[in-house]
């Protein structure tokens, strides 16, 4: 038992140190690629903390969703657009940094105060262990059904939005400037899919 608890404490210390140092690195490193890779490390150590709390399903889901999907997509986006150019200096950078630092320090102080003044119910409820998967499923399909479905609708909206933004051939004019978006499209005179038309039937699937 003593070996187990010592191991647990060492793991906790290492994981929390990795999380804290890694997240500071994510914010402070100038190279955005390093920040993105470090973010993956931070997600992994948070998954390790979940494991220490006997929440193995949540830990695996954390790895699958945050490391495997979110972080890979962030890296993907960075590598597709990264032009290795040095950014022009913004005037008043020091003031901006100080301001954001002050806001973060204030937020941190607030959180610390909440953490120290809250009367935590210790020890917490006993861990459900391997039954956690069943319990999570029950909650998702009963009392948390509405938030779950709302989150999925939100994700669907975000996906449709991303597709519309990425597929420029549905617009003939730029959304912001109002200028023609693509010369080739104008020459071909393709009928746009999403545009305000004066025709009475606004069907999206109208043939070009």
């Amino acid at each position: 038992m003593s070996i187990a608890s010592t191991t647990q404490q060492i793991c906790f210390a290492v994981l929390s140190a990795t999380t804290v140092v890694g997240s500071i690195g994510v914010v402070l490193l100038p190279n955005i690629v390093y920040s993105a890779f470090l973010l993956g490390g931070v997600f992994l150590s948070v998954a390790g903390l979940y494991l220490l709390l006997n929440a193995s399903f949540v830990a695996a889901a954390q790895i699958l969703v945050y490391v495997g999907a979110v972080n890979v997509l962030i890296l993907f986006a960075i590598m597709l657009v990264n032009k290795q150019e040095t950014l022009a200096a913004i005037p008043g950078l020091l003031v901006r940094r100080l301001l954001s630092g002050a806001v973060c320090a204030g937020l941190f102080a607030l959180l610390l105060r909440v953490a120290f003044t809250t009367a935590w119910a210790l020890p917490g409820p006993p861990p459900v262990g391997e039954e956690a998967t069943i319990r999570i499923g029950e909650h998702l399909f009963t009392d948390y059904l509405l938030p779950f479905e709302l989150a999925s609708v939100l994700l669907l909206m975000a996906m449709i939005g991303a597709i519309v933004l990425a597929r420029r051939d549905v617009f003939t004019t730029d959304v912001i400037t109002g200028e023609p978006a693509d010369q080739g499209l104008i020459e071909k005179e393709r009928t746009p899919l999403l545009i305000e038309t004066t025709t009475p039937e606004p069907t999206l699937l109208s043939k070009p």
Partner: protein
């Protein structure tokens, strides 16, 4: 894979626990329970690591021999009988090669990339069962842990692609990540249909649900579509030939491995073959009854009139379990190798179309049909 031999000789049978007997033995020698457990812990891990590496050596040799047979060559012949030592020679060559880091490469990420590719694959061996108690850890999330861990791999590939400071490498890394993300979803949906039938994520429970009527109770008869989807996706995740776009030689030199040499290259090589053997093992666990013999061992002992609880019978049962798991896995490895040397490579748009427009809808329909069948025939589809 044959390194599991010592374990099979020591014990293995269903119902008999190797760990508890080892701890009892150590306690008999005067150790405390904690110390005995601490002594036990590294043993299965080292055994599985050695097993994985030997499995790679065997599949490399198979790859060389089968590709030679496909192309009507002889293949490696001089290193050992039938060239069985050829993979060892390959490994030794890679160990003694110079470890080059390109001058303008990012040396930290360059070294970290291969590690991030190999470690999750080896960690996934945690949940591969060779018998009722013959796995490192029967974690409750079992097969889900494998899906989660295999999603870390693309980060390592992106890292090595980016840090090599080479356009081919970057393109290879991006392709690998895109391919891995696309095929993870139908893979997870195919696994979900199996999990729905066995009511558990644990690999041991999934195999236990397929015992009873021998070969007839294997999941492949109840999940034929899921089996095909899983196999295609597993090949894509392993970057085997119909889907080896990330390292397509004619287009990208060698993809993300272009700049690597020596042991760092060997790590990629090792990782891809360990992943192939692991995928084959998991196909056999999910769809081919895992360690169960085509004819249930209980029937055979019944016919022979021996008690299934006798120590010798239990040892034989355990060994048969290990051998049948490995045989099933290597049969699948054989098919993967045969596919690699007989099929042409798909284009990137065909790859993504297949993943998103064909496999994903089919996997969803398969899940829905499985749910319906489970409600209609709870006896046959795990009520």
């Amino acid at each position: 894979m044959l390194s599991t031999g010592p374990l099979g000789a020591a014990v293995a049978p269903p119902g008999l626990d190797l760990q508890s007997s080892f701890i009892d033995l150590a306690q008999g020698l005067g150790l405390t329970a904690g110390a005995a457990r601490l002594l036990w812990l590294p043993l299965p891990m080292v055994l599985v690591l050695v097993g994985a590496v030997v499995g790679v050596l065997v599949s490399v040799w198979l790859e060389r021999k089968i590709s030679a047979a496909v192309q009507q060559r002889i293949g490696p012949e001089y290193a050992g009988a039938l060239g069985v030592l050829q993979p060892l020679a390959d490994g030794l060559k890679l160990v003694f090669k110079e470890d080059i880091i390109p001058a303008r490469a990012d040396s930290v990420l360059f070294s970290l990339g291969p590690v991030l590719v190999v470690v999750p694959v080896i960690l996934s061996w945690l949940v591969v069962p060779f018998g009722q108690n013959l796995l490192i850890s029967n974690v409750g999330v079992g097969i889900f842990l494998w899906i989660a861990l295999s999603s870390i791999q693309p980060i390592g590939l992106l890292m090595s692609g980016y840090s090599s400071n080479n356009k081919y490498s970057l393109l290879g890394g991006l392709r690998a990540a895109a391919q891995s993300i696309s095929y993870e979803i139908p893979l997870a949906l195919a696994v979900l249909a199996v999990v729905m039938m066995s009511n558990s994520l644990s690999t041991v429970d999934i195999v236990a649900q397929q015992t009873g009527a021998g070969i007839l109770s294997w999941n492949i008869w109840r999940q034929p579509v899921g089996f095909v989807i899983f196999w295609i996706c597993a090949l894509a995740e392993c970057e085997r030939l119909p889907f080896d776009l990330p390292e397509a030689e004619e287009e990208l030199v060698a993809g993300y491995q272009t700049e690597y040499s020596g042991m760092k290259f060997a790590l990629f090589y090792l990782g891809s073959y360990i992943n192939l053997v692991l995928s084959a093992l998991l196909v056999s666990v999910l769809y081919l009854g895992g360690w169960s013999f085509p004819i249930p061992v209980e029937w055979i002992t019944g016919w022979l009139g021996v008690s299934p609880d006798a120590p010798l019978v239990q040892v034989i049962t355990g060994s048969v379990g290990i051998v049948s798991t490995i045989l099933k896995a290597y049969l699948l490895v054989f098919f993967a190798i045969l596919l690699r040397w007989t099929t042409p490579r798909v284009r990137i748009d065909q790859l993504l179309d297949l993943g998103w427009k064909f496999l994903l809808p089919i996997a969803l329909v398969n899940l829905l049909v499985t749910a319906g069948l489970k409600l209609a025939f709870p006896a046959a589809f795990g009520g």
